[in-house]
Amino acid sequence: MDKILRINMGGPSGPEIKTEPLGDYAGLGGRAMTSTIVAREVPPTCHPLSAENKLVIAPGMLSGSQAAMSGRISVGCKSPLTGGIKEANSGGQPSQMLARLGYAAIVLEGKPAEDKLYKIIINKDGVKIEPADELKMLGNYDTVAKMSALYGNKVGCISIGQAGEMKLAAASIAFTDMEQRPTRHAGRGGVGAVMGSKGVKVIVVDDAGCSARKPKDPDKFREANKAFVAGLKSHAVTGQGLPAYGTNVLTNVINEAGAYPTCNFSKGQFEGAAKISGEAQAELENSRGGEGSATLGCHRGCIIRCSGTFYDKNGNYLTKQPEYETVWAHGGNCGIDDLDAIAMLDRLDDDFGLDTIEMGATIGVAMEAGLAKFGDAEAAIRLVKEVGQGTPLGRILGSGAAVTGKVFGVERVPVVKGQSMPAYDPRAVQGVAVTYATTPMGADHTAGYAVATNILGVGGSVDPLKPEGQVELSRNLQITTAAIDSTGMCLFIAFAVMDQPETFQALLDLIAAFNGQPLSADDVAELGKSVLRTERAFNAAAGFTSKDDRLPDYFKKEPLAPHNVTFAVSDEELDTVFNF
């Protein structure tokens, strides 16, 4: 990856393509690349849908190599949902493909003068950009089908659906999976709306004729990769739990803990949880059968294979296996206990190009407002279809939970910095709430993931059984997660890395052998801190203050059943999270 592709969509005579060397951005990848470019090149106070904003798409540092689990891709911009800096990442094929083509980043700049739509085709011979008005208001599935017919069934696609074209703040960007379906999404923060504002419907990536990126030290790389894979396969979570049940294995457990936000965060347990659990989902998928039903990888090089394929009652493909967050958002959060209905909502979200977390939270707010009853799956489907159709109500819903709450006068709106919370109630698991409140991204559980802070020793060790430490743990997790997000590694490697020091060492060795430079735990921590400092500085320049690092007030006032707890971390403590 030795070049950056820049496309100015607002050139005087049409889009202008420029390929340039990495320059100051050498050595960066994934989130480190997207956040650095956005922070340096985007005016923090610009309108997110203006020509001044930029959309940056960057494979991880190890993407395109033979390293297992290295196929994540980051998308960055100023977010139309939060108004701050955004990095959303995704699995799928395009990360590996772009990296093999040599691109460390694609930067979409400017804005077309007219309401025109384009497609971008990238292959080993170069880059083309062509008008694509025939794709207007197509869903992701139809868009990809047309690209497949034109360019073959091996290409990868990065596309937006109707929501992105309408520039809705819940719009996602879709990345095709190994079956060339648009099922993997950079979902959070409205990145799809920014792509829509640039007039780009789809980027077709064809890596035919390209080979895997070569490590600087092939022997050590091979050895480290072998140890890394062995560690992932031998761990109970990455080797057994995730492949068997997918991420939705969490439903029963989070519900048992009383931390499962139910009916728009009004209680912590859902009566229908067992019916939509990972266990029930795996049983349903296995009984219906079909290729890749209960266990499937989302990109080339994935060995955990936590995904699957959801076939309907008649055995027809409907969508990929809905993930835990999706099953919660459209399920328990809306009082819905029907896996077929949840899968349909997932399909609609993927096709329209919508963040499933944001949409599920939004429908929950809409239900509280009285637009439908909790538990009414048909009504939920109807509401999401309104978004795809672009009706006035649909455009409100597609703008996310915060806007919907304002329009319909709802107090209980579970957002931070305008972004919906994911599937863990912050009152029950308050260390996660610290991350929700303070991450520069807006409420996001993956911003401070279970990365190996214990092994890294970032910020010193915290006694797990002492009550103190939530702020420290959140800080440490945010630092290490920012670093992992820059490598292109799937966050699910975290569990094996956290528990098995030899697997963590294998990861360090893998990166070091690839780059030909030694890498220490301190280097990883410093990378994470650097990314966070950059993101925080952008947000501060955009007008964010400590008052934005807060949960909505009702989490401090409304006790959550069954534990009857409220959020109790003080504002003063929250303000110390970034003291490093």
Partner: protein, 215 residues
């Protein structure tokens, strides 16, 4: 140490309830997930530590407990200290393997992120002065259900009629064809058994036992 009278051996201590016997080619194939997710009743001797209860009464091996049962709840509260928590009548015990996700890792027994859920953590409990035979509710999730469920149903569990009716209704081929059902000493087909279960008091209990039929 007191020797507990173990899991559900004392027939005279069982609540009086109808019995549902299922004979299947192999108990492991029965779709047990839903019944254990919702919870089943077990008669145990209470007053022992969680570790002793699981090893000596539920017959979980010490190695399995240590290595696999990484996520344990008592009355919805994650447990860190298996020796400092004592089982009382009416308790709800839930067992799971290690879980993915940040919160999955946070809920892990004595994991390094445990402080992040301190408000809901199960603290030490006082040991009862005397032991007694009483019912607790057991929930098994994910790999714990797969690994422990078949043996538990062989030994017998208590469940609500609607749970068992749901279990039978959910059986698909070939399970539904290969199953034999004896309900209150009478052989029944699946629809008749469901009908009988649905006519029972919904809050009552039925004993479920599953045995492996020789091929």
């Amino acid at each position: 140490m007191d020797t507990p009278s173990l899991f559900y051996q004392e027939q005279d201590m069982k609540p009086a309830c109808p019995a549902l016997y299922l004979m299947v080619p192999e108990p492991g194939i029965l779709s047990l997930g839903m019944i254990f997710s919702a919870g089943v009743g077990l008669m145990v001797q209470t007053g022992f530590s969680l570790r002793a209860t699981m090893i000596e009464q539920l017959k979980v091996t010490a190695d399995y407990l240590e290595e696999k049962l990484q996520t344990i709840f008592l009355n919805n509260r994650p447990v860190d200290d298996l020796d400092g928590v004592f089982v009382a009548p009416g308790d709800i015990l839930a067992l799971s393997a290690a879980m993915p996700g940040l919160v999955g890792a946070t809920l892990r027994r004595a994991g390094h992120l445990a402080a992040m859920r301190r408000e809901i953590t199960q603290g030490k409990t006082a040991r009862q002065a005397a032991t007694t035979t009483a019912m607790i509710t057991l929930k098994l999730f994910n790999l714990a259900c797969r690994d422990l469920g078949p043996e538990l149903v062989k030994r017998g569990v208590l469940a609500r009629p609607d749970q068992l009716a749901g279990l039978l209704a959910a059986l698909k081929d070939p399970e539904s064809k290969d199953i034999s059902i004896v309900f209150d000493n009478k052989y029944l087909e699946i629809p008749a058994a469901i009908d009988r279960l649905e006519r029972l008091c919904p809050t009552g209990l039925v004993e479920l036992k599953v045995s492996a039929r020789q091929p």
